[in-house]
Each structure stands twice: as C-alpha cells, then as structure tokens.
C-alpha cells in the first residue's frame, strides 16, 4: 500500500520512530548553540590597566568616588553610605570590600535574591578604585592588597594545597569549582576570580564567606593558597577530559548516558545484523 502512494526521498523516513528524537536533538543543539554563542559574547569584559595605587592615593579620587556613589549606590546604601533598609552601612568595610564587590560585578546588585551573583562589571577599573577610595575615606577598613602581598612567587604549592583543603574545599570544593550552600546560597567557582579578588574575599568575607584575617591565615599562607588556586585554574589533566571536576555525580551521569548509551547501540547493532 505504501508503495502505491509513490513515496520518494526523505518522506520515506518521515514516519520512522527515531524522527521525533532526531528532530528534538537537532532543535536542542541549535538552541543551545545559539544561546552559548550569545552568552560568551555577553561575558567578554574589557580590561583596562591603570596604576591602582596612583588612583587610590589621589585626593581627587575621593570626590570623584563620592559623585559616583551618589548616583549608583546611594539609593540602597544611603547618601553618606550609612546604610538604609535596602542595603547595609559601608562605613568601615574598607577599600578591599568595595573593590571586590564592584569589580566582580556583584555591586550594583541587579536584583535581590538568595545571593548576589558575579556579573559583568558596571564600572571601569578607575571608577571602581575611585569608589573604593571614597568608602575607605569614611573610616579605616581592609585595604586593597598590594603588589607585594599578591606576589606568591616564593610560596609553597603543596602547603597551599593543604591549606586550601583545610580552609576552602568544604565550600568551594577540592577543585575550586564551587558548591551549594543552604537556601539557594552557594560558594562560587574560583576559576573566574582573579588572585586580587580572591585575596580581597579572604580579608573581607563577602556574603556567606568567613573572614580569613592575618591572624587566621598569615600573608605567606594566603599567597600559598593563591598559588594553589592559580595551579587549579590551569593544571594539566593527565586523565583526559575532566567532566567539570564536580566529582562522581558527573562521572555517573557520563557513564549512564555516553557509556551505557554507546554499548546499547552496539548491542542493538549486533542484534539487527543477526537478522
């Protein structure tokens, strides 16, 4: 009967049971592909290199920072950074805190939620430093780490690993890829953060993170941790594809999809061959 209808070409396969799945797969790949192209384009952030210390120490920066603060931050933090119902006081948080929050794009906050997310920075590095200079002028607080503090060249990698596992891994995971916390909060991945931002996070304890001041981890220990995190960012993978380094969950998922999937297909192929 089917022959009588005179079917040719693709319509021969139109009613094949696999068609639905193939079409869905193609659709998903196209959608996902377009989305990821768009997402990478949006994530590209321009970097400008200005001498941080020069800006921070320039008295004019405080005024410039104050003006930026009044337009961008005061709505929530109050005109004099004293805090309001929507945002905490910033008096005493220090330049390091401002620099961390603004340079990682967490501030200004897009929307209140369980946790403020890393985002595209809204200010240039120069503006960020001006904001930091203004807030630091209100009351002393943790300062932006100096080049000397960030110089981990002499640090011990193995010690850094040990300190990382003892102090950081329970939230950020052994691989620094981050992990979930309670009620929608999370420890973010460290793979996107610069050493400067990680140092600032350690001394200011943003959001759910505890503060690791110099009594808890001294400067050399912090440098060792930075060295280990930098190693984690581009350590070689002797075992092959790393599957995101999220542990056994992704390994199990991979086995149940690719592994069992491939062998099932082989079994079906051998079965069909037999006929």
């Amino acid at each position: 009967m089917a022959k009588a209808m005179g079917t040719v070409g693709i319509s021969k396969y139109r009613k094949h049971p696999a068609v639905l799945f193939v079409l869905m797969l193609v659709g998903l790949i196209i959608t996902g592909g377009l989305y990821s192209i768009g997402a990478t384009a949006a994530n590209k952030v321009a970097k400008d290199s200005v001498s941080a210390a020069a800006i921070l120490n320039d008295p004019a920066s405080i005024d410039a920072g104050k003006r930026l603060f009044a337009t961008g931050c005061a709505t929530c933090h109050g005109l004099n950074a004293q805090g309001a119902s929507d945002g905490p006081t910033l008096i005493g948080v220090g330049a390091a805190s401002v620099h961390f929050q603004v340079a990682t794009g967490r501030m200004p906050m897009a929307a209140p939620g369980a946790q403020v997310m890393r985002n595209k920075p809204q200010y240039t590095e120069e503006q960020t430093l001006q904001l930091a200079a203004y807030v630091a002028s209100l009351s002393p607080g943790p300062a932006i780490p100096t080049a000397a503090q960030l110089n981990w060249a002499g640090a011990d990698l193995a010690e850094g690993g040990e300190l990382f596992r003892a102090n950081c891994a329970q939230c950020h995971s052994f691989s620094g890829r981050g992990g979930a916390l309670t009620e929608g909060k999370y420890a973010p991945t460290l793979m996107l953060a610069t050493p400067e931002q990680i140092y600032e996070a350690m001394i200011t304890g943003p959001q759910a993170m505890p503060i690791f001041n110099d009594q808890t981890l001294n400067v050399e220990e912090k440098q060792a941790i930075l060295k280990y995190i930098e190693y984690l960012k581009d350590s070689p993978n002797p075992g092959g594809l790393e599957l995101g380094r999220y542990g056994p969950v992704t390994e199990g998922l991979f086995l149940w999809t690719v592994g069992i999937g491939a062998l099932l297909m082989v079994a079906i192929w051998i079965g069909v061959k037999a006929k």
Binding site: M1, Q170, G184, G239, G247, P248, W256, L263
Partner: protein
Amino acid sequence: MSTEITRGPVDKSIDGGIKYLDERYGTSGFIKRNIKKVFPDHWSFMLGEIALYSFIILLLSGVYLTFFYKPSLIEIVYDGSYLPLKGIKMSEAYASTLEISFDVRGGLLMRQVHHWGALLFVAAITVHLLRVFFTGAFRKPRELNWVIGVGLLVLAIFEGFSGYSLPDDLLSGTGIRIASGIALAIPVIGTYVSFLVFGGEFPGLDFMSRLYTLHVLIIPGIMLALITAHLMLVWFQKHTQYPGPGRTNNNVVGYPLMPAYMAKAGGFFFIVFGFLVLLAGLVTINPLWAYGPYMPDQVTAGSQPDWYIGWLDGGTRIMPNWEIVIAGIGTLSLNILIPAVVVPGIMFTLLALYPWIEQWITGDNRAHHILERPRNNPNRTGIGVMSLTFYGLLWIAGGNDIIAQMLDLSINDMTRLIRVAIFVAPPLAFVITKRICLSLQHSDKERLLHGDPTGRLLRLPSGEFIEVHEPLSDNVKAVLLARTELPMLQPPAEVDQSGVKTPKLWAKKLQHRLNRWWYVDQIPMPTIAELEAAKHHAVHELQEAQALGLEITHDLPEPTKSH
C-alpha cells in the same frame, strides 16, 4: 515438541578440533551436544554480557593494580613526582595510588579502566536486571537464578564501594567515615561492629588491609562462583525467548552456539574492552591526586559516592534528623538507621523475593519460557516503574548539591520537594504506567481485529465511508497472540467439605483480593468468533475497495484457523 529441537547442525569448520579432542579425551559427544546448543537471538539478551565482560576486564586490570598498590595506613611523607603534594604527609595507600597514577607505566590508564569498568559493571547489571524484570524472565523455573542475580548485584555494590575506598584520598576517606557512621547507627551491636571492622576507634590502622582482602579476594571469589552458577543455570534451563512465529513454550528458536554466538560474543567482548580502554584513555575518572590525602578534619564540597551508592546517600540527605535518646542506654539514630539500613534492607529483600510474591498473587504455577511483553503485565510493569521512580528520586537527592549548584536551586527547597515526592510520585508512576499498558493492550486488540489503519478513506456508492485496513503480518500476529490469560482465583472456602475451617484463611483472602486487583482490568483477548467476524469484515472492506478500482497490494486474508 521435544528438547531435541534446541540443537542445531554442527558447523563444518570446527569438526577438526572436535576430532582432535575426541581422540585424546573422548569428549566428542559432550562437546558436540553443547557446541550446537541453540540460543534465541535478541539485542536485549546481550545486556548481561556487558556485565560479564566488564567483570573479566575488572579482573585483568585489577590484577595489574595489585602489583603496585600498598594497603597500608602507615603515615609517610610523599616524595613522588606529583609536585602539588610533595612533602605532604599521607598514608602509604594514597602514596601508592599516586605512584600508580604518575610513576607506573600505564598505571593511570589501568586505574581508569578499572574505575570506569566498575561503574559500567554495576550499570550493566542494573540494565540486565531491568530487562529480566520487565519481560518476566524471572518466572518459574528461573526464580533461583533471579536470586543469584540479586546477590551478584549486592556483591557488586559492596565490591565497588570497597574499591572506591582503597585509595585513601579525601573523597574515599569521607565515604569510609560515613560507612563507619552507618555501622555505629545499628542498634545495640553498632559500636561492636564498627570496632570490629576498624580494629578500634575510626579510622585506626587496620581496616585498609582488611578492606583490601575483601576487595581482591573474598568478594570477587564469591562473585566468580555465583557468576558460574548463574551462567550454568541459563545453559541448563535454556534461555527464554520473545514471542514470535514458531516459538512455543517447548522449543527454542535461534542459532547454534558455534559459530554464530561464539563470534558474536567474542566480538562483543572486544568491543566492550576497547570501549572501556577508549573511555579510560579519554575521560578522567576520580582525579584522586586533586582530592589530597584523607584527613579526618577535612571534607570537600560535592563529596559523593559512585553512582550505585548515590541513592543511599540521597535517602540520608532527605531523612529528617530524628534521634531517640534513651537515658542511660544510648541514642537510636533513626536519621541514619532508616535510610542507610532499613530502606535498602527492605528494597533488596523485596527485589529478591519478587518472583514468589508475584507467583503468590497470580496463582500462576506454570513454567514460562516465552517472555512477556511489558504491556501484557501492567501491574508488574507498573511496580517496576514505581520502583524506578523511587530510586530515581533518591538518586536526585544524592546529587542535590551539584544539581542545586548547576540549576541555581535551593538545596532546602529540593529536600522539601523530594520529601513529598518520594511518597507521592511512585504511586502516581504506577497508575500512569498501568493505564498506558492497558491502552496498549487495547490497541493490540484493535490491531488483531482490524489490522493496521492505512489512512485511506473510501466512499462507497451507498455514501458510507470506510477506512482501508492492512492485515497484520504473521510475525506481528504471532507476537500479539502470544498473550496468555489466566483465570482469576476462586474466593477461598471458609470451611472444607468436612466442615473444617480452612487454615490461614486471612492469607488466602488477602491472596484472593490481590489476585482480583491484579487481573480485574485486564483487556480480554479477542475470541475466535470475534477474530472470525473481523476477518469477514476485512474481506468485505477489500472487496469494496477493489470494486472501486483501487490498487490493493496485499493479499486477502484467508479464513481463520483455530489458534
């Protein structure tokens, strides 16, 4: 038909070999009898083979690893070639796994073959078990082999977990810590059990060598014996087959072992082997160097067991923190005891006993060699999907932190949701599956009576519209007609003829009630009269079509013979 039919012709190409053996050992009869044994053919019969081949690969790669691994918890300072751990104190066990990974030639590949192989082994067992379950292959006379299979699954899980624990990295040490916690949660004897296993307070120095002996000797030894028994029973009881033309409960339709299956099985072994080596060469599994050595005061986010323990971990994660403190005696840790001991205990017991449970409900005492299509036993299929839903939810709970992180969810919301879903979703899955099965039975009956609709509508001279149906092929018809119906059990008599009360009346009443529930909404098979009437209708339909000058490519159906 007799069992003689299960022997096919001996292939000419192997005559020489048989002759050689026969002249020396007089085994010709034995070999000839077995070499031409007929096995039915279907791709789903090869799922168990994947498990078997993974096991062989695990033995081979495992032996290589034993040459270099040291099951010792003696603390040493690492001085190998992995720089980020140089100078760090660790156990000899961990140092030797690092050595295997970085300093032994082919060591990392072997370790990854072994670990991927372990994941594949348990997964293949699971898929094989599902095939056996959903097609009713466990029914009489194969109940014992089902129990052996369940035993192998449990052993494989223990074997996998003991292997996961051997490297003594931060991840596996955390797993051992949890295992010791589970042992401690057992009422009354828990502390003794834990002390016995660990040779004192956790972690101690003894358990690694004990675990090693279990992992490389005792468990694989028992598994090897059980696998042999499992295969011999398949051989002795013959393999089940799917329904089809010429296939009955008394024959086996297929090909002889030699050469067809020897070639296929041999080829498939090398495909599985090659695939595992490819996987191990391309994809990291358990980058244990990155976890660092186990320290009781450290833990990493995303600490998870391998997938086959995931559901137990999940149960523990969604269990409310219930404890009963009995003054002066101790604490009853329901928070661990229920998800890690009671639930798996019940699940595996039900799994092992399932053939007898179903037999008791259906009252079906017949031997079955023809497999049942899942739709033809809606309750069994429903129970299977229900169990899978339960398992899947616990699986999700076991990976809740990773899922929450990936999908921007709250772990607490997930826990609350799964706590409700674990009671609601499985029964729902049962009802939906059962309804789908019954609908499929309906559709099968329709097809038997009317054939397949072609989508061609005819308008007859009288003005009536009819759709032309294509008769089913003999293959399809044989499959659809293979469903057998069993009469429902009669209600038990309160007293027998002599007026003696029936013993265990409550049990018989329960059986009767379950039996009614099992069969009550089954779609009855078409009767011979119905089939005959349908055939007349089809002939009439085609004649009308031909009268209108329509080109008909298929033959007119012949009058029905009895089925």
